[in-house]
Amino acid sequence: MAMEILYFAWVRQKVGQGAETLEPPAEVADVAGLMRWLAARSPGHAAAFAQPGQIRAAVNQEFCPPDHPVRPGDEVAFFPPVTGG
């Protein structure tokens, strides 16, 4: 079962797309691991995830820290710190 990966703001611009459906290998177990795996997919991904400390994540539409687990079927989003209001 795949994961739905979403990108917003400059993460989206660097990756070059807003969403992709992917099947990471089983050793990708948490948000930080998924970021490392995604960074290797393309130069755009590499640029987007070059400084992981600048990226925030949500798993199934809840903000999550880097050690939060990810599982097949999850919706995982990556974006910069929010700036609404």
Binding site: Q61, A77, V82, T83, G84
Partner: protein
């Protein structure tokens, strides 16, 4: 009862306040905050992006938190997305209560919390074609943190 909306269209504060008080005689005060687009540094427009689905959940969660902390008769959060020109409104927060202190505190809480807890991102566009993503501010984190400590 909380109303949360994400929309491209402008909003009408008078209509939103009327909806909060409609048919009620137990509302003593409505506190409101309207956030507007400034033209700092020659900004020509703000473009607001959000995370559809998560945004509505986050706003509903923030509103529910306010209603749990203060005895509100209702609250409203409306956030615009898309392209917004200087002078135009971006966000509206309303909190209604029998007493003013609850309304004022809940209103401040809602806007502070929304700044750090809802998935919106602002891009600034300049007259010369440059654009720049707005960076999160430490002062916004501090403002939201203040409410966390107040629990």
């Amino acid at each position: 009862m909380a109303t949360v909306r994400v929309q491209e269209a402008p909003f009408d504060i008078a209509a939103e306040q009327a909806a909060l008080a409609e048919g009620r005689v137990d509302v003593g005060g409505i506190a409101a905050f309207t956030g507007l687009c400034r033209a700092d540094d020659g900004i020509a427009a703000l473009v607001l992006e959000h995370y559809p689905g998560m945004t509505e959940r986050a706003l509903a969660g923030i509103a529910a938190e306010a209603e749990a902390r203060w005895p509100l008769t209702g609250c409203t959060v409306i956030h615009r997305v898309g392209r917004i020109l200087p002078g135009e409104p971006i966000v509206l927060v309303l909190a209604a209560s029998a007493h003013r202190t609850a309304a004022l505190e809940a209103c401040a809480f809602l806007i502070d919390w929304l700044k750090t807890g809802a998935p919106f991102w602002k891009r600034e566009e300049f007259a010369d074609g440059r654009e720049r993503w707005v960076e999160a501010r430490a002062s916004d984190d501090a403002a939201a943190e203040r409410w966390r400590q107040a629990v």
